[in-house]
């Protein structure tokens, strides 16, 4: 370590600024920036943090708004309770939301990365703020990084990293409360760490990971690890909104007093504010997380120079080249349709299939059917889930059974306490004279209160009726 303030590297297109020649991490110290996007991003970020923290506290239908109860295997999503058997809905949720993100990316570029991604939100609006508060602005931070390890530096480092760990711990605890709920989290915290070693371990691991990421790793994650970031080049095109530099207006760079020069005075403000260490004037680069800091930085300079703002701005590559931008493109249709498919299926299942109860009829192990002198019968296991937070009564029957087909084992109404399940053997029998061959039957389960009905198709199996009659 030298006692000199750290040098500012000039970004280039051939290498990653934040990785040194020898593979070590070049720590970036982005300068302060003020402006409309910075302010708007801060507002959005605090809204995001508020939502993140509030979700486990808001009760809907007797459970937190988002509560993934892994222990009881019940998943509460905005008042809708799902059990492991509903897990297939997740496919539509993930594919629908995933393709929605694709559409958003195709139109608005990395709007997610810059404005809504939890990593950016926590890093830029919590951890970088703490750093700014304790260590000062970029030149001060650079100077401190090169300063000898005296009492002043060490005490600041201890304070800063202490706050980092504290915030990481808070985020980790909120995260855990999504899985065990706030009251249980509070109860766990009253007890020794070894009583709930797994939960404690998860929080410790998460705190450590968050601390490592937000204190040290920072932009490395976005540049090299984030899969969404790496997908960008496949999702965007020349009509996608990006943050770009208006080369036509800006070049050639020169002094503000030079009448032959373009609008860019090469002040390097856009470079020094960049949290990933790129020069936006080199064009669209994979490191860019779309944080808009360079827009605010450049606008500020342009205002000072009495020049129109927007030399660096949100625009498409085509728009920056002075051409007209298209919104509707084939990829929009493709991503849009896939998103619509997933979300429609999700909505449909959420409203029609995700009932307050689950009924499952599965064939028992052993022979698929039994032949008695007088009967053909199939054995099933009936499994009922009451997903509600109050007791329910269930009536189980065959819906419009063909003549002779009888369901036995569930003659009485079944009472199931709140959030409990019940399994019982049931048998479908049919007298030989009524037997017409294998067929599909419909099981009907009516739940009270709520008048909810769940139907399940079930195959009644038996011998070939022609051969059967001969015997």
């Amino acid at each position: 370590m030298s006692d000199q303030p750290q040098k500012i590297k000039r970004p280039n297109l051939d290498s990653v600024t934040s990785i040194n020649d020898d593979g070590s991490h070049h720590i970036l110290h982005p300068s302060d920036v003020k402006g409309r996007f910075t302010l708007a991003r801060r507002v959005v970020a605090w809204l995001m943090i508020a939502i993140y923290v509030a979700m486990p506290w808001i009760p809907i239908n007797g459970a937190p708004a988002l509560f993934f109860d892994v222990e009881m295997r019940r998943f509460h999503v905005f008042g809708l309770t799902m059990v492991t058997q509903d897990m297939w809905v997740l496919f539509f949720a993930i594919s629908g939301l995933g393709f929605l993100l694709f559409v958003t990316t195709a139109v608005l570029g990395r709007i997610w990365c810059g404005w809504a991604c939890p990593y950016t939100v926590f890093l830029d609006h919590v951890f970088r703020r703490i750093e700014r508060w304790i260590d000062g602005d970029a030149p001060a931070r650079r100077k401190l990084a090169g300063a000898p390890n005296d009492l002043r530096k060490i005490s600041r480092r201890v304070l800063k990293h202490g706050l980092y760990i504290f915030c990481s711990g808070l985020i980790a605890h909120v995260f855990l409360s999504y899985f065990i709920s706030i009251p249980r989290l509070y109860a766990f915290m009253q007890q020794g760490p070894l009583e709930h070693a797994t939960s404690f371990g998860v929080v410790m691991f998460l705190t450590g990971t968050l601390y490592f990421c937000f204190a040290h790793f920072r932009e490395q994650f976005c540049i090299l690890m984030c899969p969404y970031g790496r997908l960008q080049s496949a999702l965007t095109d020349d009509d996608t909104m990006i943050i770009g530099y208006d080369e036509q207006r800006g070049e050639p760079r020169g002094k503000a007093t030079d009448p032959d020069a373009g609008a860019c005075i090469d002040c390097n403000r856009c470079v020094t504010v960049c949290p990933t260490g790129i020069d936006i004037r080199n064009g669209l680069q994979l490191e860019c997380i779309g944080c808009a800091a360079c827009i605010d930085a450049c606008d500020e300079i342009m205002v000072k120079l009495n020049r129109p703002t927007g030399l660096v701005r949100y625009d498409s590559s085509r728009g920056l080249a002075g051409k007209k931008r298209r919104i509707f493109r084939p990829r929009m249709l493709a991503y849009g349709l896939l998103a619509l498919l997933g979300l429609t299926a999700l909505g449909f299942t959420a409203f029609n299939r995700a009932k307050p109860m689950n009924a499952n009829l599965t064939r028992m192990r052993g022979p698929s059917f039994y032949l008695d002198p007088t009967l053909v019968r199939n054995h099933f296991q009936l499994r009922l889930f009451n997903k509600r937070n109050q007791p329910m009564t269930f009536k189980v029957s065959l819906e419009n059974p063909p003549p002779g087909y009888v369901l036995t084992g569930v003659d009485e109404d079944l009472k199931i306490p709140a959030a409990q399940e019940l399994a019982r053997p049931v048998i479908v029998i049919v007298p030989n004279e009524s037997y017409q061959g294998p067929r599909t039957l419909t099981l009907e389960v009516k739940g009270q209160p709520g008048d909810s009905v769940v139907r399940q198709q079930v195959e009644f199996l038996g011998p070939n009726p022609r051969l059967f009659r001969k015997n």
Binding site: K7, I8, K9, R10, P11, N12, D14, S15, V16, T17, I19, D21, D22, G23, S24, H25, F217, Q220, L224, Y370, L371, D372, P373, T374, L375, R377, H379, V406, T408, G409, D411, E412, L422, R424, P425, V426, I427, I429, P431
Partner: protein, 213 residues
């Protein structure tokens, strides 16, 4: 296609010009030869350490166990506990204990009724007669044996019933109309089987308790 790939030079901030392009070229695409980030290399070396640890742990010294083995071992433990529980129960049980104690224990009978209604009615019927009244004058026979007809194909003593429920239809029995009962001891603990026997006894008072009941 140019025969001589153009040697590219990286413009580093420190002003040194270094050759950073690999000599090969495919479809006009060349590759930079940048140093990997150290943390990336660290992960690579960590996997190198991971391998011998796993190899020694799982295959050489056995201080780590595959999940399947762990589960099998736990299952065996559970079976052992169950077997012990059953042995302890059997040591306390005989026909007279059933007649003197359990068959008259109202709590056991009530619990047994509940268990019966949940698990047994599908085959033995709600009234234990292995019949189902469809309500329209039609009565359908169910797969199980009647438990109130005074016929005890597998032995009439309470202990016979206990063993029958615990182990299911005996291996040499052809079953009733081909229907064989499963071994409920796999699903129910011994005490619950005792309660079921109590309930069945209470439904046949004359046979088990004579005329005084």
């Amino acid at each position: 296609m140019s025969s001589e790939p153009e040697i590219k030079v990286a413009h580093y901030a420190d002003g040194e010009n270094k050759i950073v392009v690999r000599p090969h070229e495919y479809d006009g695409i060349q590759e930079y030869d940048q140093t990997l980030p150290n943390w990336w290399l660290f992960i690579f070396f960590a996997t190198l350490v991971f391998f011998p640890v796993c190899w020694l742990g799982y295959y050489q010294f056995g201080f780590m166990r595959p999940d399947g083995e762990v589960i099998d071992r736990k299952m065996a433990e559970i079976q052992q506990v169950k077997a012990k529980e059953l042995d302890a129960m059997l040591a306390k049980l005989d026909n007279s204990v059933f007649i003197e104690k359990w068959g008259k224990d109202q709590q056991a009978i009530a619990n047994g009724r509940e268990l019966y209604m949940a698990n047994c009615t599908a085959c033995h019927g709600q009234k234990l007669d292995a019949k189902m009244d469809l309500g329209n004058g039609q009565v359908v026979p169910l797969p199980g044996l009647s438990l109130v007809d005074g016929q005890w194909q597998h032995g009439k003593e309470p202990m016979d019933t206990f063993k029958l429920i615990n182990l299911g239809s005996p291996p040499d029995s052809p079953g009733h109309n081909g229907a064989r009962m499963e071994a409920w001891g796999q699903k129910l603990p011994p005490m619950k089987i005792v309660e079921l026997v109590s309930f069945i006894m209470s439904e046949n008072p004359k046979e088990f308790f004579g005329s005084q009941n």
